[in-house]
């Protein structure tokens, strides 16, 4: 999969030499209108736990999405305890989610049941999806359905985008924060004919960090590094729907995103003309184009283009369900193409890669009776990734003669994947009225890269023990091809070399697919509390065990990025408790708490091993959300408090030596929304207590040295933020 070599490029002798050996480790709803007849102003929960869905789903609807500014998908999860969003490092500002204490890559994103944002784009994808483009988000924990693939190990997050058939001919959202960062979202849904069979929606997003941000408070911790990079982004998407009266649906669309991030040091860290000139001239001439040894700069350029087409044709066979609705057989065809290109530099480290993915799927649903149905399908995927990385740095060592020696080293890695995969699946559903549902699925995929057939069995169960008590359970395996380097983007933001930690030999092309088992369930109880008949409490537990996992750590040997490919070395347990209550009309309380135990068994070169908590994974998180709306939601007041538990920060030694726990910290958010005619004005504040992780960058004064580390980010990098915005609709 990827190969690498380490070089000592050149050594400047001040007193004597040091060298780095090759591959040797250094010593170091708007109204939830359940309206059948009458819509009245109802209590609408912004975040709720579905009582209908098969899996336990946390649903963030349009009201939930408007509780905060939700500029991007990442910010949409601030109200959720199950999903936590962390920065991958202190340089790039890229954010990644964690579900069940596992990295976001183990969670599959779906766009209306179509997998997307997988592969190389995943570390940036959360920032590529503006929250304003979404109508709701459904978070399901545990393995997903086999019909969506074999990848969802920790969970599935389904995104419900604005639709071509929407009523809003024009929707505008303008946002401005106290750093004068403007964001604009526009969407326009239009029917192109009178009978509304053909419709389209155009969605656009633009955001920019203005010069004001450049000048003010970009470096609040005074380490000469920007706290977050300066970002510019443009995203455009166009979706079409053609729905005939006979029920044939043809949907197609395309999207484009371009993004630029500039981060790193604000001023030169060294005076020009010192000994660095030697390296500067050498590497600039022979090896790197954009190298500046006087100032650590980070430039990231991303471009994402994609297109899809979906065709669904209803068949003649129809069965009526218990409520009289038609269950109709249908056949569907989905084709999907995506191209992602990233060019990034973090000081001397560079990562350039591009990926092309094409997938094709055919699916058929057949209802034998109202109780039994079967979905069968065929899927094929072609994926080609070409990547190239350079990691470089300067070692500073005391020489035998007592002077100081500098060595310049670099590693070049190719990170290429050619993957061809074909699979078939069958999923049987047994449904007894609305009380009991059992879904059993099996898929078999042949993966050309590892030349092996993988079987993925999965099962889901939902049992309404009483009308108010619901038990859900799921179990199954999953596997995926890891994009090891970009999924650990933070490793580029440190000065450590890579080290393949494989006592038996290099990872090279023999990297296996990651393979895991996830099992768990939840119990949801609805009850009457005060005047609320629908208060609910829900408890869930999930366990994940990896048969094979690939990960990068800064231990057991310090000052290196150790790459592991291990059997039975990773597992996690997650417990979560959710409580939903509406004490009086339009006042909602949502409280949730999560506890995670995520462990790794780390092997040692002498054949031993030790088990320790996965680094940078918070042990617990609690969220309390209070929301009050006046009649017709003319005024809405939202308040959210978060308590984030400690996470282990890797040390530089074995058995957790030198590692420490980050502090527990709280964050508060508040927002006031006022509806004026067809517009909504919102004013809010994030991180009210102005809590920041101080000194997120270690060794900031020597950014090219092997002691530099901006990877260990466990808390917020930006402090208090005020913002104001307006949403306006034209129907």
């Amino acid at each position: 999969m990827f190969t690498f070599r380490t070089y000592t490029l050149s050594t400047l002798v001040v007193a004597s030499l040091t060298a780095l050996g090759q591959n040797v480790p250094p010593d170091t709803t708007a109204m939830q209108t359940t309206l059948s007849e009458v819509v009245v102003e109802g209590a609408s929960r912004g975040l709720s736990v579905s009582s209908v869905a098969l899996e336990k789903r946390e649903i963030i609807n349009s009201i939930g999405l408007r509780k905060m500014a939700c500029c991007t998908l990442a910010e949409s999860f601030e109200n959720s305890a199950g999903v936590s969003v962390d920065y991958s490092d202190a340089i790039s500002g890229a954010r990644q989610i964690k579900l069940l204490g596992l990295a976001g890559a183990y969670t599959q994103f779906l766009d209306e049941s179509r997998p997307f944002m997988g592969g190389l784009v995943s570390p940036y994808a959360l920032d590529f999806t503006p929250g304003d483009w979404l109508r709701s988000i459904q978070v399901s924990k545990g393995v997903g359905s086999v019909t969506a693939g074999h990848e969802a190990i920790a969970g599935q997050i389904n995104l419900d985008f604005r639709k071509p058939t929407d009523d809003e001919r024009l929707h505008v959202n303008f946002y401005l924060d106290d750093m004068l960062r403007p964001e604009v979202n526009l969407s326009s849904a239009i029917s192109l004919n009178k009978d509304r069979t053909l419709s389209t929606i155009v969605m656009a997003h633009g955001s920019i960090d203005t010069d004001w941000r450049e000048m003010k408070a970009m470096d609040r911790d005074g380490d000469n590094f920007r706290d977050l990079p300066s970002r510019r982004q443009i995203s455009v998407a166009n979706r079409w729907a053609w729905i005939t009266p006979s029920g044939i649906q043809l949907r197609w669309g395309a999207k484009f995103t371009t993004e630029r991030r500039n981060g790193g040091q604000i001023h030169d860290s060294y005076k020009r003309g010192d000994w660095r000139d030697f390296f500067q001239n050498l590497i600039a001439r022979e090896y790197f184009q954009e190298t500046d040894l006087y100032r650590y700069r980070s430039r990231i350029r991303n471009r994402d283009v994609g297109a899809y087409v979906k065709l669904a044709v209803p068949l003649n066979h129809v069965v009526a369900d218990s409520s009289g609705n038609d269950l109709q057989d249908n056949i569907a065809l989905i084709a999907d193409w995506n191209n992602f290109n990233t060019r990034s530099s973090f000081g001397l480290n560079q990562y350039n890669a591009r990926e092309n993915t094409f997938s094709l799927a055919i699916r058929m649903d057949h209802y034998f009776s109202r109780a039994h149905s079967l979905a069968v399908g065929l899927q094929g995927k072609l994926s080609a990734q070409r990547g190239r990385t350079t990691k470089a740095g300067i070692f500073e060592r005391l020489t035998y003669a007592g002077g100081i020696g500098y060595s310049f080293w670099y590693q070049q890695l190719t990170d290429s994947i050619n993957e061809r995969e074909a699979g078939l699946y069958a999923e049987w559903t047994f449904k007894r009225e609305d009380r009991f549902t059992l879904v059993a699925g099996l898929r078999a995929d042949y993966n050309d890269m590892v030349k092996k057939v993988y079987l993925t069995p999965r099962m889901h169960l939902k049992w309404n023990i009483t009308p108010k008590t619901i038990l859900r359970a799921s179990a199954g395996t999953g596997y995926r091809t890891p994009r090891v380097l970009i999924e650990h983007l933070g490793v580029f933001a440190n000065g450590y070399p890579f080290y393949e930690f494989i006592p038996t030999g290099p990872i090279d092309s023999r990297v296996r697919l990651e393979h895991a088992l996830t099992a768990g369930g939840s119990l949801t109880q609805r009850f009457k509390l005060g005047s609320d008949r629908n208060a609910s409490i829900s408890l869930d537990y999930f366990h994940t065990h990896f048969f094979r996992s690939i990960f990068i750590l800064q231990e057991p040997y310090g000052y290196t990025n150790n790459i592991f490919s291990e059997r039975d070395a990773v597992f996690s347990n997650t417990w979560q408790l959710d409580f939903n209550w509406t004490p009086f009309t339009r006042f909602e309380i949502f409280a949730t708490a999560r506890y995670t135990q995520s462990k790794l068994r780390i092997p040692l070169l002498d054949g031993g091993s030790y088990t320790i908590s996965r680094p940078l994974t918070s042990r617990f998180k609690g969220v309390l959300n209070l929301s009050y709306a006046t009649r017709f939601r003319v005024w809405v007041f939202d308040f959210t408090a978060q308590l984030n538990g400690p996470a282990r920060v890797s040390g530089q030694g074995k058995n957790g030596l030198g590692s420490y726990n980050s502090p527990t910290y709280a964050q508060l958010f508040a927002q006031v929304t006022r509806k004026i005619n067809k517009a909504e004005v919102y004013l809010g504040c994030e991180n009210i207590t102005d809590y920041r992780q101080k000194h997120a960058i270690i060794g900031a004064d020597a950014p090219f040295h092997d002691t530099f580390n901006a990877t260990n980010v466990w808390g917020p990098l930006m402090g208090r933020k005020f913002y104001i915005g307006v949403r306006w609709n034209l129907y």
Binding site: T29, V40, E41, D167, T585, V634, K678, I724
Partner: protein, 115 residues
């Protein structure tokens, strides 16, 4: 400084709210039922999401999707049927007055306060 600015802005917004703006005397409240062309749940949601767009003085709105009627209770010193019809038009709902009074038999004039 930022905190003071935030508090001032919040207070300003709160003061703009007519609900807190002054004393309320007994208001002449009137209910009209409008026949509309709403077809689906989305239209009902659209109406309920845009009650301020119907005009000032709206006290209650009840949508009946089956009958395609919307009962609007309002303060007739501040608005009238024609203004409300105009308001409906601004959210692309065609409406006309069905009966001058709320017909309790055909439309559930349940107020949100009843919940």
């Amino acid at each position: 400084m930022k905190s003071i600015a935030f508090i001032l802005l919040t207070l300003t917004l709160i003061c703009l709210n007519p609900a807190w703006a002054g004393d309320k005397k007994s208001e002449p409240v009137h209910t009209t039922v409008f026949q509309t062309d709403i077809r689906c749940e989305n239209c009902s949601i659209k109406i309920m999401n845009n009650v301020p767009a119907l005009g000032k003085g709206i006290k209650d709105v009840v949508v009946n999707l089956d009958n395609k009627t919307v009962a609007v209770t309002y303060d007739n010193r501040k608005t009238d049927d024609q203004k409300i019809i105009k308001g409906f038009k601004s959210i692309r709902v065609n409406a006309e007055v069905m009966t001058p009074e709320c017909d309790v038999d055909s439309v559930s004039c349940r107020s949100s306060k009843d919940e």
